[in-house]
């Protein structure tokens, strides 16, 4: 089952990777099919398996389970440099991405057109740059309006710029399936922990989805190095701290946060959640 799911999801993933370039690709995924994929993936991801399958599950998880579990963004308050998100599987669609894409389905084409015509954020994606192709210096510098910021001696440095920004995609969706604060097995069963993640939009200015999900628990606790969320024990989240990717305890941003040893509860990317940093 896992192999089949992987193959199907990989196929979806490959299609999804093209969404930035050809939005119609998304619309071609039938909603019903997509839902079935989601269901199968959920089952594959959550089933406990033996060692031989676990490694596959890990692989499947990274490619297709409800979001790769990358180090999570922390927003350590007030540091001028901030702390930001790391997505080790950048641009690789998670389940939510695919489902979202299907959910908005055909409307994406219209949305993309609307973005372009509105002069909004969509044009800010400079297709000539290396975004999505593995990095490298930009071949030119894109502005919000998509125009290259070439030197212009005639330009008035103090000409006002009216930022079109992004169209309002609405507040992030939520899909909380377990209690991410739970550091024991109460949330997901023995050997599993509840993890929190963001499904980032695959389109410019898109809508995020905040999720919690069950997955096999790691062992990392406060301050332990991590590569992905599941390197951490339940109740912890893997964040880019700006000083190494670390497991940090989840904490509520209001009220008693439970952080000890001088740590403070700093916001992470999911509204209302913080990490002890």
């Amino acid at each position: 089952v896992g192999d089949t799911v992987d193959q199907v999801v990989e196929a979806v993933r490959m299609r999804r990777l093209h969404v930035l370039d050809v939005s119609t690709e998304v619309a071609e995924i039938p909603l019903a099919t997509q839902h079935q994929i989601d269901t199968n993936r959920r089952a594959a991801c959550e089933l406990p398996r033996g060692d031989g399958r676990e490694r596959r599950i890990v692989a499947a998880t990274r490619a297709s389970c409800p979001r790769p579990r990358p180090p999570f963004p922390a927003r350590l308050g007030g540091l001028p440099w901030g702390m930001r998100t790391r997505r080790t599987d950048d641009r690789r669609p998670g389940r939510k991405d695919a489902r979202l894409a299907a959910a908005i389905g055909l409307s994406l084409v219209a949305l993309a057109a609307a973005l372009a015509s509105a002069g909004g954020c969509a044009p800010s994606i400079d297709s000539t740059t290396s975004a999505g192709t593995g990095g490298g210096p930009p071949s030119k510098f894109a502005t919000s309006t998509g125009a290259a910021a070439e030197p212009d001696a005639s330009a008035d440095a103090f000409e006002d710029y009216h930022d079109p920004g992004c169209p309002d995609a609405g507040p992030p969706l939520t899909d909380f399936q377990c209690d991410a604060y739970a550091s024991d097995s109460s949330a997901c069963g023995p050997g599993f922990g509840c993890y929190i993640a963001v499904d980032y939009p695959m389109t410019p200015c898109g809508q995020e989805t905040y999720v919690t999900f069950c997955a096999r628990a790691g062992h990392g606790r406060q301050g332990a190095s991590c590569v992905s969320a599941q390197d951490c024990a339940g109740g912890f989240v893997c964040v880019v701290t700006g000083s190494g990717n670390q497991c940090v305890r989840l904490c509520p941003l209001t009220g008693a946060d439970g952080c000890t040893d001088g740590l403070v509860c700093d916001p992470i990317d999911v509204q209302g959640f913080g990490g002890c940093l």
């Binding site: 007030g78 950048d90 990095g135 980032y200 190494g244």
Partner: protein
């Protein structure tokens, strides 16, 4: 000699004069010059009437000969010149041709008319060879000998801002500046054009947005108040902001392009964004985050951490004063997949002739090491060495950096050292450690975190958070010498329940120091502003 030949000879002399004045008209056989101009009388000679030299028309150009004859044609001879050299390298020695009088104008201007000259470009006022002692030739109240007053300015050009001044908290003590955007976090603060520009980010309805707001010197909001820096750029953060003399520069990270990239924009003194708007500095998959921003006097430089090579490395980008990128992204550190380390949390500052940057160097499986390097302002290969400021035995994190007179001061906090204090070290532009790492705060068994610094020439002002009082974190300030010796006690600035964290300090007007910080006195993460005022001063 035909007229045509004479004209040609004169023209040759005139042309050559531009490059070798002394040779024109000279009779020295050792000097190679144009043909001497023929003449019949002295008035034929070029330069006749110039009282800075004595001319004659002599037979065969022999200064000791008589006037020209039919057998001995005349040539112009310079018999003498007025010597105006005053042997002062800081003057231009010139002779007035109409009077023959010498003048010795200074090689640098006194634009503000305060009687002191500006230094030569690239020199520090008062240094040998600088030819100028005015450390601000645009401000007539600033010059050597001026009375040092408490205004945040080095009035007497002794390299010290507000000599001996203390900074005390003003009244009202704190002002909340963020609206309904909790949790909010400070990004940056700078003063220019009569107001502070505060940049911060926070959550509205679940999305994290980045905002800017102008504040009066007392912290009151300037219309239009809290304004999104980028509309609906969900996930934006950052916000280091600097004043560049006529505009603010601000840098941040946002994921509008599908991954986190670094952006830059200029803001007018009234806070409006300047065309062409947001300039995208990075365009790579993965994460380009945690920007730091410096203004060198002519350019902006942004540095950030970037994992396009697999592991976080530090990259940087130059921009001109209008915000146009100069060249491409430059890797300042070499972290990559398999390198066995990562480099994060860069902070940069502009020094005398270099940029200094400090960062967290993280060997795999080992504690981070606070590192420093001075690099050329054009971001070409550094000649100064990388300097490790911590030994990697403790968890020293999140360095910040400032330049003060002759050195960079790097500060950080250490989560596992005893004490868990603010630490700092001083390094010069060649990478020599002038003051080794030492604790700046004394938290006892508690913790000090989040240092922010301002340079005062001979002193450095620290503002930081500390939880020694047992009721969460409060803000403290202390002034130390540039050798990091304490000059003042630690003074507590905040007193409310709930944590006060993450101060960002900036010089304001009239000796003020503005402080933007996170505060939870109302149970949420809100942003507040407070300020210190210059309390006393005295000329040395």
């Amino acid at each position: 000699v035909t007229l045509a030949a004479r004209a040609l000879a004169l023209a040759s002399c005139a042309a050559f004069t531009a490059v070798a004045v002394a040779a024109c008209g000279s009779r020295s056989e050792l000097e190679i010059g144009p043909a001497l101009p023929p003449c019949s009388v002295v008035s034929d000679c070029p330069g006749f009437g110039d009282r800075c030299q004595t001319l004659a028309c002599k037979a065969n150009g022999d200064a000791n000969a008589g006037p020209p004859t039919l057998d001995a044609p005349g040539e112009c001879v310079v018999l003498s010149k007025v010597d105006c050299d005053d042997h002062d390298p800081c003057t231009n020695d010139v002779c007035d041709p109409s009077t023959g009088a010498c003048a010795h104008p200074h090689v640098t201007p006194d634009a503000d008319g305060d009687g002191s000259y500006a230094p030569l470009p690239g020199h520090v006022a008062g240094d040998p060879g600088s030819c100028g002692t005015d450390c601000d030739d645009a401000n007539a109240s600033v010059h050597p000998g001026a009375i040092e007053v408490c205004d945040g300015v080095d009035n007497d050009c002794n390299g010290v801002v507000d000599d001996g001044a203390l900074f005390v908290q003003s009244d009202p003590a704190v002002v909340r500046i963020s609206g309904d955007i909790a949790p909010a976090s400070p990004g940056g603060l700078a003063f220019g054009g009569g107001n502070y520009a505060a940049v911060y980010w926070g959550s509205t309805g679940g999305d994290f947005q980045i905002f800017s707001q102008l504040l009066t010197p007392s912290g009151a909001s300037v219309p239009p108040g809290e304004t999104p820096l980028v509309l609906n750029a969900n996930g934006a953060s950052g916000g280091p902001v600097v004043w560049a003399g006529d505009r603010f520069g601000v840098a941040w990270s946002d994921p509008r392009s599908g991954s986190y990239d670094i952006f830059f924009a200029g803001l007018q003194p009234n806070g409006a964004k300047i065309a062409p708007g947001d300039v995208q500095l990075s365009a790579a998959s993965g994460y380009s985050v945690n920007p730091s921003l410096a203004w060198t006097g002519t350019e902006f430089v942004v540095a950030w951490q970037d994992d396009r090579s697999g592991a976080f490395a530090v990259l940087a980008q130059r921009l001109d004063g209008a915000g146009t990128p100069i060249g491409g992204n430059v890797a300042l550190t070499g972290a990559s997949t398999g390198s066995g380390f990562a480099d994060e949390s860069p902070e940069i500052a502009s020094g005398l002739s270099t940029l200094g940057f400090a960062w967290s160097h993280e060997p795999t499986g080992a504690p981070p090491i606070v590192s420093f390097q001075a690099i050329p302002r054009d971001l070409t290969a550094a000649t100064a060495p990388v300097v490790a400021l911590t030994d990697g035995t403790t968890h020293a994190v999140y360095p910040t950096i400032t330049w003060s007179t002759d050195r960079y001061v790097v500060a950080w906090y250490d989560e596992t050292a005893q004490p868990a204090a603010i630490y700092a070290a001083a390094v010069d532009e060649q990478g020599h450690i002038l003051a080794p790492a030492r604790a700046i705060s004394s938290p006892g068994n508690a913790h000090s975190r989040f240092p922010s610094m301002l340079p005062l020439g001979d002193r450095v002002l620290f503002v930081y958070a500390d939880d020694r009082v047992g009721d969460g974190y409060e803000l403290y300030t202390r002034t130390v010498t540039t050798d990091l010796d304490p000059l003042t006690d630690e003074v507590r600035l905040t007193h409310a329940s709930g944590d006060s964290l993450s101060p960002v300090a900036a010089f304001g007007p009239n000796g003020d120091v503005g402080i933007l910080f996170l505060d939870q006195r109302n149970g949420e993460h809100d942003l507040y502003f407070t300020r210190l005022t210059c309390a006393a001063s005295g000329s040395p």
